[in-house]
């Protein structure tokens, strides 16, 4: 029997709490599938708990964040509510500021890779671009 570390205990608590969120997400996702999408291209919305952290992705028509414009090409990803800087490559693959040199197939895969890389660390809020 291993002793629960504080972080692990917090992670378990977060997972339990966010399980509800994941349930809601499933409903949202189903609805998205049932209804015809506005855009035929582009990834679907997701909302799940991955390794104890809530990851969300959704189309974003508001320009995303602090003037970086549509680098996520109209799509935004959050980890525990904090936006992950996302970018779409010309071939349709995705990268983030956490994994900037390794394209992955979907924003969800990028969000999961970022969670693994973060090892529990929090994202630093996106800074405004340099003048």
């Amino acid at each position: 029997m291993t002793t629960l570390t504080r972080r692990r205990a917090l992670g378990v608590a977060a997972s339990a709490a966010a399980g509800l969120a994941a349930g809601r997400a499933l409903t949202t996702s189903d609805r998205a599938v049932a209804a015809p999408a506005h855009r035929s291209t582009g990834p679907d919305t997701f909302d799940e708990v991955y390794q104890g952290r809530r990851i969300q992705g959704a189309p974003s028509h508001t320009g995303g964040h602090h003037g970086h414009g549509a680098h996520g090409d109209g799509y935004a990803v959050r980890i525990d509510g904090e936006e992950l800087h996302l970018m779409r490559n010309a071939d349709g693959t995705w990268i983030s500021v956490i994994n900037h040199y390794e394209p992955l197939a979907t924003p969800r895969a990028v969000a999961r890779a970022a969670v693994r890389e973060l090892q529990g660390a929090t994202l630093v809020p996106l800074a405004p671009p340099l003048a």
Binding site: H68, G69, H71, D73, H85, M87, R88, N89, A90, D91, V97, I98, N99, H100, Y101, E102, P103, E117, L118, Q119, A121, T122, L123, V124, P129, L130
Partner: protein
């Protein structure tokens, strides 16, 4: 004249002077300005928009200028220092002398990826990671994690054989030498090395790891090697390309230097071996 040497050939004194100069730039805050600049460009360079530092033809001249500026900052601390390069086709394991405690220190520990030895370990209190994308303030690495392999000499030679510098659409989807060297297409050279090192090197704030400079010094040398093999192949595009730095356009953030100005590295430094 500055001579850039293979890191594996440096003497103990050369290694110490290099790491001491890096630590001094870190102490004065100058080092972190380079990290900030790089991260700003990597986050703003996009395939379908303005692109300067990455995923575009100017990837190579931009980084040549960026490294020159860093090297000049090092030389303002110690005039004897030059940027070494890391030939990762040869020194391709975590046991290479590059990663010894008297130089860059080794891989990170399993628990949190923290580098525990060498001059840049957090415990030495001289290299706190302050320009960062997450909450962690210590240098991290995961050298070769997951069984990843560095590019081979044969893979490098295949890319050096490509005659055309770059091609439309001048981004991460391009065919040609630049994009294959950068790694968005094909065997993947430059990008793969960032991923192999792991930690901050995999992020937009990759210059937080001093190996960034040695990696890019080798990428820069491969550009010089390619030029020597293809003397008739020019930098492209030559002019009139939206969102892209043409041969005679100035590059941000300097605004006073063009790719044309950066084509001949021998005006600034030479390498320890002929191209």
């Amino acid at each position: 004249m500055t001579v850039r040497k293979n890191q594996a050939q440096l003497t103990a004194t050369e290694k110490r002077r290099f790491t001491d100069a890096v630590l001094e730039l870190k102490r004065t805050g100058r080092y972190d300005e380079f990290v900030t600049t790089h991260n700003a460009f990597i986050m703003s360079d996009t395939d379908n928009g303005d692109r300067v530092g990455h995923r575009s033809p100017s990837f190579l001249p931009w980084h040549r200028r960026f490294l020159l500026q860093f090297e000049q900052a090092l030389q303002a601390v110690d005039p004897e220092v030059a940027l070494p390069y890391w030939d990762w086709t040869t020194d391709r394991t975590p046991r290479a002398s590059l990663w010894a405690p008297d130089f860059l220190g080794g891989t990170g520990r399993a628990r949190d990826g923290q580098v525990m030895d060498g001059p840049f370990a957090r415990s030495g209190n001289r290299f706190t990671v302050s320009v960062r994308v997450d909450g962690r303030d210590f240098l991290r690495r995961a050298l070769g994690a997951g069984g990843r392999q560095l590019p081979t000499r044969a893979e490098v030679d295949a890319v050096l054989a490509m005659e055309t510098y770059d091609m439309p659409p001048w981004n991460s989807a391009s065919d040609g030498f630049r994009n294959h060297l950068e790694g968005w297409r094909g065997a993947n050279l430059h990008n793969r090395v960032h991923v192999w090192v792991g930690g901050q090197m995999g992020t937009g704030a990759s210059p937080n790891d001093p190996v960034f400079w040695l990696h890019h010094a080798f990428i820069d040398k491969l550009w010089a090697d390619w030029q020597a093999r293809h003397p008739g192949s020019p930098y492209l595009p030559a002019g009139g390309t939206p969102n892209v730095v043409d041969l005679n356009d100035t590059m941000r953030p300097w605004n006073d230097v063009t790719p044309a100005d950066m084509l001949d590295h021998t005006r600034h430094y030479t390498y320890d071996t002929a191209a």
